[in-house]
Amino acid sequence: MTTPDDRKYSEEHEWALVEGSVITVGITRYATDSLGDIVFVELPENGTEVTQFDKFGEIESVKAVSDLFTPVGGKIVEVNSGVIDMPEKVNEDPYTVGWLVKIEVSDQSQLDKLMDATAYDNLTAE
């Protein structure tokens, strides 16, 4: 699967897709391939304030627990209940049905600290 070029990426293998003042966040295909079958997702509640690059949740595969680090800071305005109920949706397509949270951001300049798809592909190709 190709890395979508409509969004930005973090070194921690999360993506951020801008839709006005709200940014949708998820993990990358590289991350799901490394994790294997995802069986549990723990996300913060609506209204939680998160800081860019800080831990905001956990994702568990059959074998291991991994921390989720948010690529942007702001206020959580929506949580994908679909992946809470069916974590395998993250494996199915991490860029669409497998999104994790939507975050309202006040400062769009945070996105400058993220990579575009080409830079992210170079990072993961190493």
């Binding site: 294997g36 079958d37 069986v39 549990f40 723990e42 956990e58 568990e60 595969s61 059959v62 074998k63 627990v65």
Partner: protein, 367 residues
């Protein structure tokens, strides 16, 4: 890195890599954790059809000689003398203090020949326990067959039917916990009706240089390759313990719930005195299975809590795809180990409710 160079490879290593397996170190060996379809798919294959595991990394030690059986009965809690020829027994290997060195299967091949299959990670510990005594003991000859003989476990509801197609004996005539010689796909092997998944099936020991041929023959019959990731989920669903995870040399068989597999009454058994004392004193904690009521997956090392106090420790836990539940086991205060008792698991700061259930979590339907 020296550590990576030191990793050992089974005769099937290249076959795994060529199949796209994800490899990782396990007990000193570079082993397949999963193949391309992933752990859950492999677990389903074993529960619904038939899967196969390369278990050549496990230690295979042979003891031969007129004193072999008597020697093993002094060193193992296995009552080898009580085994008829061609029978196998799961048991724990304890040191003189009653600590568990390993759990293993001993096969009584003939009157004066036994095979011991031990965990890869404990191969050295088991050798250190047995070999110095064997050398002092006339009439026992030790051989390490681990390099010369491979081992492939074929497990699942279709395993027996499939292996029968490759074995004129037929394989199904080998009853559970029996072992004998047979040709599988024309390959002279030892075949045992044992396993570590909670399913019916075999562990087949071909010569190392025929392991790839046997693997391919089984694959051609539709047996699905499965890795150590699936094996760990399957054994936990079946309530089977993993040494190094669920018990160490710091545990005894009574707290581990393995007293059924600890034969302590053989005269001269070296750990008999210590084990009887532990048994008679009773152990404050006991291996307990539980199922999560709240949202969370128990993991090795997490604390078991009740009314704000730690009452135990999780030793294994996972999401069970077969039961669609999060399950675990660990050492818990005896007073809280009865079925239906509730306590919490401290999942990295979150207290998540769990309820004690009887082990195993999963039992196959028997036909």
């Amino acid at each position: 890195m020296p550590d990576e160079q030191a990793l050992r490879e089974t005769p099937l290593h290249r076959t795994h890599v060529a199949a796209g397996a994800r490899m990782a170190p396990f007990g000193g060996w570079d082993m397949p954790v999963q193949y391309e379809d992933g752990i859950i798919s492999e677990v389903r294959a074993v529960r619904q059809h038939a899967g196969m595991f390369d278990v050549s990394h496990m230690a295979r030690f042979q003891f031969v000689g007129p004193e072999a059986v008597a020697f093993l009965d002094r060193m193992l809690a296995a009552d080898v003398a009580g085994l008829s020829l061609g029978r196998a027994r799961y048991h724990v290997i304890c040191n003189e203090q009653g600590g568990i060195i390993d759990d293993a299967i001993v096969y009584r091949i003939t009157d004066d020949q036994c095979l011991l299959v031990a965990n890869a990670g404990n191969a050295d510990a088991v050798r250190d326990w047995l070999i110095p005594s064997a050398q002092q003991n006339g009439g026992v000859f030790f051989a390490d067959l681990s390099e010369d003989v491979a081992m492939i476990a074929v497990q699942g509801p279709k395993a027996v039917e499939i292996v029968d197609r490759l074995c004129p004996l037929p394989a199904s005539s080998v009853r559970p916990f029996r072992v004998r010689r047979a040709e599988i796909a024309g390959i002279p092997s030892r075949i045992a009706r044992t396993g570590y998944t909670g399913e019916d099936g075999f562990e087949i020991m071909p010569p190392a240089d025929r392991a790839v041929d046997l693997w391919r023959a089984l694959e051609a019959e539709g047996v699905v390759p499965a890795g150590l990731g699936a094996r760990d989920v399957l054994r936990l669903e079946a309530g089977l313990m993993l040494h190094g995870n669920d018990m160490t040399v710091g545990n005894n068989p009574y707290e581990a719930g393995l007293e059924r597999f600890t034969y302590i009454d053989t005269p001269g058994y070296v750990a008999g005195v210590a084990l009887r004392a532990i048994r008679d004193a009773g152990t404050p904690r006991v291996m307990t299975g539980f199922r999560m009521v709240g949202r969370g997956i128990p993991r090795h090392g997490l604390a078991v809590m009740k009314d704000g106090e730690q009452v135990g420790t999780v030793t294994s836990g996972t999401h069970s795809p077969t039961l669609d539940a999060n399950i675990g086991m660990g050492y818990v205060d005896r007073g809280l180990s009865a079925e239906g008792t509730r306590f919490e698991i401290d999942v990295r700061g979150r207290l998540v409710e769990a309820e004690v259930v009887s082990l195993p979590f999963y039992s196959r339907k028997r036909g």
